[in-house]
C-alpha cells in the first residue's frame, strides 16, 4: 500500500511499512522528499514540527490519517530515526512494524513484502535479496547524518516508491527491517539500505 503526505507540500508515494501502537509507520522520505513537477526532489524541513498534522493519503487520494511524529531535524545526527508516524483509525488493522532482533547473518536471503491495499495483509513480492553486511552506521540522508542499516542487494532494480517496503527473512518469514534507501545498478540489481526492525 502506497501513501503520501499531502499538506502544503506533497511527498512522493512510499510503501506503508507497518504499524506500532496505533500509528502507521512510513519511511521518513515522506517528510524529506517532495513530489515537484513530476519529479522527486529533496526538501528537508528546516525546523522541527512543521509537517505535524499534514494529511496522509493513499494512492487514490483518500485520507488515511495525519502526521503524528517524526524526528527531523534529527535529535541525534549520528543516529537518525528514519521513520514518520501517522495517526490513523486504521492503524490497528495494519501489520506490526516491530520485531525482536533477528539472528541475521551475511548472505541470508530476504524478500520484500508490501501491505495489500484492500486486505492490509503483508504479501510477499518474490523479489529477493542477499544480506551484504550487517548493521552499521551509514551515511543517510545527507553527508552530515548517519543511520543504522543493513546492506542488502536485491536482484532487480527498485523504484524509490518501493522504499518503506517490509524486508523479511525468506526462510521463516521473520520481519528484519524496512527498505530505506535504494540505488539501482547497471547490471540489473539494486543496492539497498535496510533499517533494522528491532530499532523501530
Amino acid at each position: 500500500m502506497q501513501l503520501r503526505r499531502q499538506g502544503r507540500s506533497v511527498s512522493p508515494l512510499r510503501e506503508l511499512y507497518g504499524a506500532d501502537g496505533g500509528r502507521l509507520i512510513l519511511p521518513l522520505d515522506v517528510c524529506l522528499v517532495l513530489e515537484e513537477g513530476g519529479a522527486e526532489t529533496l526538501g528537508f524541513p528546516a525546523t522541527s514540527g512543521t509537517l505535524l498534522d499534514d494529511p496522509v493519503v493513499d494512492s487514490g487520494g483518500g485520507p488515511v490519517g495525519t502526521i503524528a511524529a517524526y524526528d527531523w531535524p534529527p535529535s541525534d545526527d549520528f543516529d537518525v530515526k528514519p521513520l514518520a508516524f501517522v495517526a490513523s483509525d486504521g492503524a490497528a488493522r495494519a501489520p506490526s512494524g516491530r520485531a525482536a532482533q533477528a539472528a541475521l547473518r551475511l548472505n541470508d536471503v530476504v524478500e520484500l513484502e508490501t501491505v495489500d491495499d484492500n486486505t492490509l495483509e503483508s504479501v510477499g513480492s518474490g523479489v529477493l535479496g542477499t544480506v551484504q553486511s550487517l548493521e552499521v552506521l551509514r551515511v543517510w540522508p545527507d553527508l552530515t547524518r548517519r543511520v543504522q542499516t543493513y546492506r542488502v542487494d536485491f536482484g532487480q532494480n527498485l523504484l524509490p516508491t518501493t522504499r518503506g517496503a517490509r524486508v523479511v527473512l525468506k526462510d521463516g518469514g521473520a520481519l528484519v527491517g524496512m527498505l530505506l534507501f535504494t540505488q539501482n545498478q547497471p547490471n540489473g540489481t539494486c543496492n539497498a539500505f535496510v533499517y533494522p526492525a528491532h530499532l523501530v
Partner: protein, 557 residues
C-alpha cells in the same frame, strides 16, 4: 470500459496500439538543430531536448547547398543525462560499454525495395532480435505481438516488472520503451520516406518543388540502440531505448537571378505510400512578414553588434523586448513569460550555420499563428545578434530578418534567417495547463518528438472500479498541471469518466497533475483503499515515478 476523455484519446499514427488509452503531445515534429550527445552547457541542454528537426542551411548569394536531416526519434536531455551516468547494460548483444549505444544504418532505398533485412549486419540483427524478445526481425508482426504480450498484457514478464507489487520499471520508462519500440518496428515496416523541398520568393533553376526518388535517394537511417537491464539473474529483464535519425543528404539550389537575395525554403517529409508526417506545414515561409525595424532599433543594433561581450547583448535585450534572455533561459528549460517565449534553433547565413537561442516577443495573436519580433544571440559566440520579425506557427518559429555581426573594422548587416523552435510553445508553459493536447486530427501525430519529452507530462495509472451497478461510476477532472499551476480554463481541463471494470485492471496514461473527484452518486461512498474513502471535490495527485495503482470500490452508504 476505458475512461473517456472528452478531448479524445488515440494511438500513434504509425503502428499498433498500446494497452489502455494513449495520449500524445501536440508537438509538430518540425525543427532545426542537429543533435549532439556531447555538449553540456545549459543552452545546449535546451537544444538537445527539442532536437527533433530538420534543416541545416549553408547559403551564399547564388548557390545554396541545403543539407536535410530529420530526427524521426530524437533523444531528450534527460535520456542523455542518464547515459552519462553509465547505466546501460554492457552485457547486451552488441554492447561495447555501458556508455556507448549500438549504432547501425539502414538505407532508405533498401526500405523501399524491401531488401533492408538482407543488408543488415549480423550485429544489428542480433540487437533487433534481442529488443524483440528473441523474435528475428524477418517477422516484424510477430515481434510486435511478442513485445505486446511481454510488456502490455497482464502476466507478461515485462508487464509485471512495471505493475507488480515491487516494480523495477518506472512509468515514464514504460511509456518510452513501448513507444520507441513501436517507432523502430513501424519504421522498418514502411517503404521508407521521400522528402520535398519547395523554394519560394526567388527564381530557382530546375524542378521546384524538388521531390526525392526513393529508388535512388541517398537517405540513410541511423539507428542507435541503448540497452538497459532492470532485473538480473536467470530470467533477466532488459529493455531498449532508441534514437533514430535520417540523413536526407544535400540538395544544391541555383538561383539565376543575382538581384534576388532572399529565398524561402520549405521542406516536407512523408512516408512512401502513407500519410504525411514531419514537416506538414509547408507555408512557414517568412516572406509574408515584412522586415520593419525602426531606425532607432537599427542604430542600437549596430552599437550592440560592436560590443562583443554577451553580457552586454543580454543587457540590451531588455531595452528591445522587455524580456531578459538570461533570466528566461536560466529560469528553467520550460521558461517563458506571458508575452515572450524562448526559442532556439539554427541560424543560417553567410558562412554556415550557427546555433541560436533567443526570445520571441509576441506582438499579437492571430489564431494559432502569432507575429512577433525575434531577438536573440548565438550562445557561446558573442558575435551574432539577430533581430527580425517572426511568424510563429504551432511550435515552429521561422523568421528571416537582419543578422548583425561585427568584424574588426566595421559593422554590417547581412541577410540571415532563423529556423527555430519555440520551447515554451513546445512544452506548454504559456498555456498554463500542460503541453498535452489530445488531438486526433493531427496527421503527423507526435513523431519526431523525444519519448521522454512526452512522458514527462504523463503519469501511468493502473486502476479498477468495483461497483454494485455497472452504470455507476464517477469522474476525475484535472484541476492543476504537474507543476501545480491551476487549470484556469475549464475547457482545457482533461476530464475522465470512470466506469466499473468488472474486475479487470486497466492501464491509463494521464497528464500528470491534480484531479478532483466528481459525479460520485448520492447515497454511495467511493473507497480508495481499506483505510480511506473520498467525497466529491476531494483531490488526488496523479504523479509518481512508478505506476500509480488504485482499486476503487463504490459501496452503498
Amino acid at each position: 470500459m476505458n475512461p473517456l476523455s472528452k478531448i479524445g484519446l488515440f494511438a500513434l499514427t504509425l503502428p499498433a496500439s498500446f494497452a489502455g488509452a494513449q495520449i500524445t503531445s501536440n508537438g509538430d515534429p518540425d525543427a532545426a538543430t542537429k543533435p549532439t550527445l556531447t555538449r553540456q552547457t545549459t543552452v545546449d541542454a535546451i537544444r538537445l531536448s527539442i532536437a527533433n528537426g530538420v534543416i541545416d542551411f549553408v547559403n551564399d548569394a547564388r548557390r545554396a547547398r541545403v543539407h536535410l536531416a530529420w530526427d524521426y526519434l530524437p533523444a531528450d536531455a534527460s535520456f542523455v543525462r542518464s547515459l552519462r551516468e553509465g547505466v546501460m547494460d554492457a552485457s547486451a548483444p552488441g554492447a561495447k560499454s555501458a556508455t556507448r549505444p549500438f549504432v547501425f544504418s539502414v538505407a532508405n532505398r533498401d526500405l523501399f525495395a524491401g531488401t533492408w533485412l538482407t543488408k543488415l549486419s549480423p550485429g544489428a540483427r542480433a540487437v533487433l532480435k534481442d529488443a524483440s524478445l528473441g523474435v528475428d526481425p524477418s517477422d516484424l508482426a510477430l515481434a510486435d505481438a511478442t513485445f505486446a504480450q511481454y510488456w502490455t498484457q497482464p502476466g507478461g514478464v515485462g508487464y509485471e516488472t512495471v505493475f507488480g507489487a515491487v516494480p523495477a520499471v518506472g512509468g515514464r520508462d514504460y511509456y518510452a520503451l513501448a513507444r520507441d519500440f513501436r517507432l523502430v518496428t513501424g519504421l522498418l515496416r514502411t517503404r521508407g520516406i521521400r522528402y520535398s523541398l519547395t523554394v519560394s520568393g526567388a527564381q530557382v533553376r530546375g524542378a521546384n518543388p524538388i521531390v526525392s526518388d526513393p529508388t535512388r535517394d541517398d537517405i540513410v537511417w541511423r539507428i542507435e540502440a541503448y540497452p538497459f537491464l532492470v532485473r538480473s539473474g536467470p530470467a533477466p529483464v532488459r529493455f531498449y531505448r532508441f534514437v533514430i535519425h535520417a540523413d536526407l543528404g544535400s540538395v544544391d539550389l541555383f538561383f539565376p537571378n543575382a538581384a534576388e537575395t532572399q529565398a524561402n525554403l520549405a521542406a516536407g517529409v512523408s512516408f512512401v505510400g502513407g500519410t504525411d508526417v514531419g514537416l506538414l506545414q509547408r507555408d512557414f515561409s517568412a516572406g509574408t512578414v515584412e522586415v520593419a525595424l525602426s531606425p532607432a532599433v537599427d542604430e542600437r543594433l549596430q552599437q550592440i553588434a560592436t560590443q562583443r561581450a554577451e553580457s552586454e547583448i543580454s543587457a540590451d535585450l531588455r531595452l528591445f523586448g522587455g524580456a531578459d534572455l538570461d533570466q528566461i533561459v536560466t529560469s528553467g528549460l520550460l521558461g517563458g513569460t506571458t508575452s515572450a517565449s524562448v526559442v532556439t534553433g539554427g541560424m543560417f547565413g553567410p558562412g554556415g550555420v550557427a546555433s541560436f537561442v533567443g526570445v520571441n516577443q509576441e506582438l499579437r495573436y492571430r489564431n494559432d499563428a502569432s507575429l512577433g519580433v525575434l531577438i536573440g544571440l548565438r550562445p557561446g559566440g558573442g558575435d551574432n545578434l539577430f533581430v527580425g520579425p517572426s511568424l510563429r506557427y504551432s511550435v515552429v518559429t521561422l523568421a528571416a530578418g537582419l543578422r548583425a555581426y561585427g568584424d574588426d573594422d566595421r559593422t554590417r548587416y547581412r541577410l540571415g534567417g532563423v529556423l527555430s523552435f519555440d520551447l515554451s510553445r513546445l512544452t506548454g508553459a504559456k498555456r498554463q495547463v500542460t503541453k498535452l493536447q489530445l488531438d486526433n486530427a493531427s496527421v503527423g501525430g507526435d513523431i519526431g518528438v523525444a519519448s521522454d519529452l512526452i512522458a514527462q507530462d504523463l503519469s501511468l495509472v493502473r486502476w479498477s472500479l468495483a461497483s454494485p451497478d455497472p452504470g455507476l461510476g464517477f469522474s476525475l477532472t484535472q484541476t492543476k498541471d504537474r507543476n501545480g499551476n491551476a487549470v484556469s480554463d475549464a475547457a482545457n481541463a482533461a476530464r475522465y469518466v470512470v466506469r466499473p471494470t468488472g474486475g479487470a485492471k486497466k492501464v491509463l496514461l494521464l497528464p500528470a497533475g491534480t484531479y478532483a473527484y466528481g459525479d460520485i452518486p448520492a447515497g454511495y461512498t467511493l473507497r480508495t483503499s481499506a483505510l480511506a474513502s473520498v467525497q466529491n471535490g476531494a483531490t488526488v495527485i496523479v504523479s509518481s515515478v512508478g505506476a500509480i495503482q488504485v482499486d476503487w470500490t463504490l459501496v452503498h452508504g
